[in-house]
């Protein structure tokens, strides 16, 4: 947990409303683990007031990447930053994915919906270094919501794409594509990030097939480091249910732990 007030943007790419920044932040990069996030201050002015939580998309030496979509004023202002601008960031925060040693050499499936692909790219690299066989499922509304598909392929990841309108890859939801492919694949674990309805469907599929699954949840956050209690989700711990902080206890939770919104009374 480090504050870096001077993380320099060394590279920037964009596609429609999706952005990729590479940041020079040695101390945060050295500690970063897949599934962790940073809190980014988008302005020094009092509006927008709060930092924005963004997943760490990759790390390489002294650099980390963030991949985000414009979803409001904060990310809109962030998108206007240019190469050589510096960002005030806190990180790495949260617990990240459980990359247990028994995934070594096993088949592992990652499922990203839209901007939910962000933390999975970092995870994919880590799993590959464990010699896991990584299959990435990547879904979006249209072709334009799959801006990272070339990057995934160039990096040699076996990628299965879907689009709701059929403009690229399988026509339909990424959860449907996953369900069809699981007739053939037998992953030791599924890691997913994306819209909650997508993750809920994947949790259901994983439960039916008895496959371990972990999900990275998105939440509005006040601070990102456990002080405000603002980002809670309903989580099952044994026989108990609690509102747990996504920033501190998550953002990654297992499929059995998460009580999805539609299940709530």
């Amino acid at each position: 947990m480090i504050k870096d007030p001077q993380a320099r943007i060394i590279h920037k790419e964009s596609w429609r409303d999706y952005y990729l920044f590479s940041l020079e932040s040695p101390r945060i990069a050295h500690q970063a683990h897949p599934g962790q996030f940073i809190m980014v201050r988008v302005t020094s002015e009092p509006y927008p007031l709060l930092r924005r939580p963004l997943s760490i998309h990759s790390k390489d030496g002294n650099h980390i990447e963030i991949f985000f979509q414009i979803t409001g004023l904060g990310t809109s202002q962030l998108s206007k930053k240019a190469t050589d601008d510096t960002l005030d960031i806190l990180g790495p925060l949260g617990k990240g994915f459980n990359i247990i040693p028994d995934l070594e050499g096993k088949e592992v499936v990652l499922v990203g919906g839209g901007r939910g692909i962000a933390p999975l790219y970092f995870l994919a690299h880590q799993l590959r270094s464990l010699k896991s066989s990584v299959k990435i499922f990547y879904g979006g509304k249209t072709l334009e919501d799959l801006p990272l598909k070339e990057k995934l392929e160039t990096n040699g990841f076996e990628t299965y794409c879907s689009s709701d309108d059929g403009s690229f890859g399988f026509k339909g939801l990424v959860s449907e594509l996953l369900k069809a492919e699981l007739e053939r694949l037998a992953p030791a674990c599924i890691f997913a990030c994306g819209p909650e309805p997508m993750m809920r469907k994947i949790a259901e599929i994983a439960r039916t097939k008895n496959i371990r699954a972990e999900f990275s949840l998105e939440s509005v956050m006040g601070c990102g480091f456990g002080a405000c209690w603002g980002c809670v989700k309903r989580i099952r711990k044994g026989d108990e249910e609690e509102w747990l902080k996504v920033c501190e206890e998550g953002p990654v939770f297992s499929g059995e732990e998460i009580i999805w919104q539609e299940e709530e009374k």
Partner: protein
């Protein structure tokens, strides 16, 4: 070197900057970012006697230069606080203030009674003003009789000085401040959050699950400053100002208006180093203006 210490009468602070309850966790969350010894003090998250869950999400909405929250005071209760948190906080050489909550008057007294025996607590801050616990923001700080009654009871129970944190959601803040003083409070902190709401126009639903929440941040600062200005002219006990302080300049406005100290709240979320930076900015202001003691600044409004 400027002398930044301020004397509340019942408690001497090494500087006038306290971290506000509800924005500073149990203090430990800030250890990676700042040296807690540098603070005038910090006020831990509101404690009820028993553990509490808090409200369902969404609990937070950002508004123009403000933050709307309906957290609902989740917490670990006095027993776990005493056993797990307090031993980790005693090493700090700064004022540790515990924010005390209750669903009924006797619960406030039970919290204080339980914590009386614990070492290392400098004072209690009585939270009679959280808008997110009962429906429509009801709380004892909304009328002078209920404020008087709970302050009186807790003061009788407490072995430590008592700071009473008031609500801004009243017609006449001075009237409530006077009743808290009459009931025996040692100081008054002004203010808790402003009852407020926000609506999603697409779904036509409130943005907070709780419908109503409490507004904090720079948006409220001028209103709180006005309240501090009004209250310090009428009460004898020290007043602590709380509301949208982001900088040393903001803190100085409150001190000039007559607050003996300030609490920094929402700023802790934006930058966990805020409290320390504000202390440095106050010191720089004093040095630039040839002020030897910060107490020389308090209540010096030229009006």
């Amino acid at each position: 070197m400027t002398d930044l210490s301020v004397d509340l009468g019942f408690l001497k602070l090494k500087n006038p900057v306290l971290a506000a309850s509800g924005t500073f966790g149990y203090g430990l969350e800030f250890e990676p970012y700042i040296d807690l010894n540098k603070l005038g003090g910090f006020i831990v998250k509101g404690l009820y006697y028993s553990p509490r869950e808090g409200n369902p999400p969404p609990r937070l909405v950002e508004t123009s230069s403000g933050l709307l929250n309906a957290i609902g005071l989740p917490g670990i209760g006095v027993k776990r606080f005493s056993e797990e948190i307090l031993p980790q906080l005693r090493k700090y050489n700064t004022a540790l203030i515990v924010n005390v909550c209750g669903e009924r008057e006797d619960e406030y007294a039970s919290v204080v009674d339980y914590l009386n025996k614990e070492e290392g607590i400098s004072a209690f801050e009585l939270n009679i003003s959280c808008p997110n616990v009962e429906r429509d923001g009801l709380c004892p700080a909304l009328n002078p009789e209920s404020a008087y009654s709970v302050v009186k009871l807790v003061k009788k129970t407490s072995s430590r000085p008592l700071i009473t944190k008031l609500s801004p959601n009243v017609t006449d803040i001075v009237e409530i401040a006077l009743s808290a003083q009459e009931a025996g409070t040692d100081a008054i902190s002004l203010v808790n959050t402003f009852l407020a709401m926000s609506i999603d126009v697409e779904t036509r639903k409130p943005k907070l699950a709780n419908i109503l929440g409490g507004l904090s941040g720079p948006a409220i600062k001028p209103i709180v400053l006005r309240m501090v200005y009004q209250v310090v002219r009428q009460v004898q006990v020290p007043v602590i100002g709380i509301g949208g302080i982001l900088s040393g300049q903001d803190a100085l406005e409150f001190l000039i208006a007559g607050a003996k100290a300030v609490e920094v709240g929402t700023a802790n979320f934006i930058d966990p180093e805020s409290t320390v930076k504000i202390i440095e900015e106050i010191e720089a202001f004093c040095q630039k203006n040839g002020i030897d003691k910060i107490e020389e600044v308090i209540g010096t409004l030229k009006a």
